[in-house]
């Protein structure tokens, strides 16, 4: 889209008395915004079509006055004189034209905006104190900016359905709806699940789902984001916290390889919501519900909070130096071929790099990540549910596809060739190794955030951080390097994963001290060619493209088979026991 516009001709447009140039095809409303005159809008959304039904973006428009020779008449300043149209126009459904004049703050426009605001507020309930949108509500904002302070309407407001359950994740309050139709268009145009619509007429028009259908597609919560008022609210976030308390941290979603850019809303180390952050290279303005709500596990009751070591057959809490030293001593008992390391595609590049350093200094060859797949879609959700498969591909430097060696490692553990197993941020049960056999391992080091059946059998347990608790970088499925940021502090005595790995690396005796994630990233940029010349700061909020996926060699069929086998083991295990809720 951007390339198309840049090659198109430029038009001269006068906005509020100043002449600007805009490429052909620019919406007038966008042109005004770029020129610094923000035009209020409800129905218009830049990623959706423009129905022009809210009438909030009215402006005055005009075209050059033409002389008898059909040429624009020039004024004293040498610029065309503009013939203003006698009535206001909507700016959202109109593209710029050459010589067009626009007024966004003339008395007529202001009067129109006041009038539209008054109409919108006639039936709008005054329940801002209980409305989740309060604080980020465009009706509140524009009422202050463009409306009047008093209502002239004393009649009874129209009663409409409240607390309507539209779907499993979205609750609707029809009284608050201003009929902008953004949600309807989103479902039609982006989610391709046309379930919402207006019924009834006049002031009794209500938004509703098609009879017998529900708003339950995997993108339903985006309608909550784009709703300019509090009509559509997230059932999960409903009444949990007022938005003005939320600290907003820019991060990325780690639920699949797409890596949607997000804003994590937190207060006092509690995550309340995740919302998408605009990035046209990755996720536009959207994210899927699955990724958005996938943060509850960080607050699970059974989080690992203390480092533990096995002493006299039992796991006992220990302090960090003891646990690290213990792990290093245990690992150094064995030679490289007797040790296997299972890392995770959910680890950041920095953590993976330190893991590979640990593997190098121990001489470990058997190191891989656990592949993770699920059904994908054509919108955002990727089939690859590991957020950093590409990071593992680049940093672990394995010749095979990430995840292809996993079953080989599992077989080596089963056959007893492996004496020491290090498993980082993964559930060992995914390997299909019986717990009894894991208990037989002389050295079994676990780093994770939640316990599982295998954690009990570990010789050393390191409590680590979840995605919202750490900084780092990841490479998404399309080869874009993006940053994770810390939104909350880790609970209890849990530590940042990279710090644990660094200390372990030092205790083993390989590697010098690095004091920050930025330092680790610098080391990566020195050793991995794709990261060459980059620093952690240079990644920026929107990321950088570092890997051309089409330049990668095609996956070897044997690798693909091995990954499918690993996925099948996971699926079998999942089927055997109830899913974690």
């Amino acid at each position: 889209m951007a390339e198309q516009v840049s090659s198109s001709p430029m038009f001269n447009v006068q906005i509020d008395g100043v002449w600007h140039q805009f490429p052909k095809g620019t919406r007038v409303i966008e042109a005004c915004e770029q020129a610094g005159s923000y035009v209020p809008r409800y129905c218009y959304h830049k990623k959706l079509s423009s129905p022009g039904n809210c009438r909030m973006c009215l402006i005055e428009m005009g075209f050059p006055k033409l002389g008898p020779d059909r040429k624009p008449e020039l004024g004293a300043d040498g610029k065309p004189i503009i013939n203003w149209m006698p009535r206001p126009q909507i700016s959202c459904a109109q593209d710029v034209a050459d010589g067009m004049g626009v007024r966004t703050n003339s008395p007529l426009v202001k009067e129109c905006q006041r009038g539209v605001m008054e109409f919108l507020l006639i039936n709008h309930p005054l329940d801002c104190p209980i409305c989740d949108q309060a604080g980020e509500c465009q009706l509140q904002e524009f009422s202050v900016d463009f409306g009047t302070s008093q209502s002239r309407f004393f009649e009874n407001k129209v009663k409409k359905p409240k607390n309507v359950v539209l779907g499993p994740r979205v609750t609707l309050d029809d009284e608050r709806c201003i009929l902008c139709s953004r949600c309807i268009r989103f479902c039609q145009e982006i989610a391709h699940d046309d379930v919402l619509g207006f019924v009834d007429r006049g002031s009794y028009t209500v938004l509703t789902a098609h009879p017998g259908k529900r708003l339950e597609n995997n993108y339903s919560l985006n309608t909550v984001d784009i709703c300019p008022v509090g009509a559509l609210t997230s059932t999960d976030f409903r009444f949990k916290m007022r938005v003005w308390f939320l600290k907003e941290t820019k991060s990325i979603c780690t639920s699949c390889a797409t890596g949607c850019n997000t804003i994590i809303g937190t207060r006092e180390d509690v995550i309340y919501r995740q919302t998408p952050r605009e990035n046209d290279h990755v996720n536009s303005c959207w994210m899927c519900d699955y990724g958005r709500l996938n943060f509850k596990f960080l607050e699970a009751e059974n989080r690992l909070l203390e480092p533990q070591i096995r002493s006299e057959g039992k796991l006992v809490p220990a302090d960090w130096p003891t646990a690290i030293t213990q792990a290093a001593l245990e690992l150094k008992q064995f030679s490289g071929p007797e040790i296997a390391i299972i890392a995770s595609g959910r680890m950041t590049n920095e953590e993976l790099w330190l893991t590979s350093q640990v593997a190098n200094s121990l001489g470990v060859q058997l190191i891989d990540v656990v592949p993770r797949r699920g059904p994908g879609d054509d919108i955002l959700l990727s089939k690859d549910r590991n957020p950093n498969t590409n990071g593992a591909r680049l940093i672990l430097g394995s010749a095979s596809e990430p995840g292809a060696k996993l079953m080989g490692i599992a077989d080596a553990v089963k056959s007893g060739q492996i004496k020491a197993l290090v498993i980082l941020k993964e559930n060992t049960m995914h390997l299909g190794i019986p717990v009894e056999q894991l208990a037989q391992l002389p050295v079994f080091i676990v780093m994770n955030i939640l316990p599982n059946d295998a954690t009990e059998k570990a010789t050393v347990v390191f409590p680590a951080c979840g995605f919202a608790e750490k900084r780092g970088s990841m490479v998404n499925g399309k080869g874009r390097l993006q940053r994770l940021n810390r939104a909350v502090r880790p609970p209890g005595n849990a530590r940042d994963d990279w710090e644990i790995l660094r200390d372990l690396l030092q205790a083993i005796g390989g590697g010098d001290s690095v004091s920050s994630v930025d330092d680790v990233f610098r080391r990566i940029s020195e050793t991995v060619p794709q990261f060459d010349g980059l620093t952690f700061a240079k990644i920026g909020e929107l990321g950088v493209h570092i890997l051309q996926m089409d330049e990668l060699p095609p996956t070897h069929p044997v690798d693909e088979e091995a990954i499918e086998q690993a996925i099948a083991v996971q699926a079998a295990r999942r089927a055997a026991r109830p899913a974690r809720s």
Partner: protein
């Protein structure tokens, strides 16, 4: 710039000091005499005696939650007081009113409402900001406790202090 304050020109009587000393001693002796005769009380015997009856209407004592004439807790947990509170004494956990409740149309209520009276500075901003006329500063000023936990007023305590408020706006009644 320095300001020169002109010294008053004292008369000879004033310069003598003695008349002023005598006048002062006269007042002292008057009080002494009244005290001997038991006719004066300059010290209020707090806490046996209290000034409560004389507190002005605008007195700012402990903040409290009120119920309206229907018995509904007026607070809807909008958390504006929590936001405005300068010493951050207020902590609210909002909850949703179940649809079977007779006040279901109000939808939201405070599941927990704590005011830490060690932190409270009795500024009255919570009362000023409240859009629901739900929190008022009452005349209670003797807030005591043996532990820090004692000094936190929970919702029940706040409602007990607040009692019922009549004659406040009842906007929720107009809702369906």
């Amino acid at each position: 710039m320095a300001i020169t304050v002109p010294r008053p020109n004292l008369s000879w009587r004033e310069r003598l000091y003695l008349p002023a000393i005598v006048a002062g001693l006269a007042i002292t002796f008057k009080h002494f005499k009244n005290m001997l005769l038991g006719r004066t009380k300059v010290t209020m015997q707090y806490p046996e005696q209290k000034w409560d009856a004389n507190l002005p209407d605008h007195y700012r004592g402990a903040p409290a939650l009120v119920r309206d004439a229907d018995g509904r807790v007026r607070c809807v947990a909008c958390q504006l007081c929590e936001f405005i509170c300068p010493p951050r004494a207020i902590k609210i956990i909002p909850g949703e009113i179940p649809s079977t409740d007779r006040f279901a149309k109000v939808e939201k209520y405070p599941d927990a409402f704590d005011i830490d009276m060690i932190r409270c500075i009795f500024c009255g901003m919570c009362e000023e900001v409240c859009p629901e006329q739900a929190i008022f500063l009452r005349k209670d000023y003797a807030i005591t406790g043996f532990t820090r936990a004692d000094m936190v007023h929970h919702k029940e305590k706040l409602l007990e202090i607040g009692g019922v408020m009549h004659g406040v706006v009842l906007k929720w009644n107009e809702k369906k």
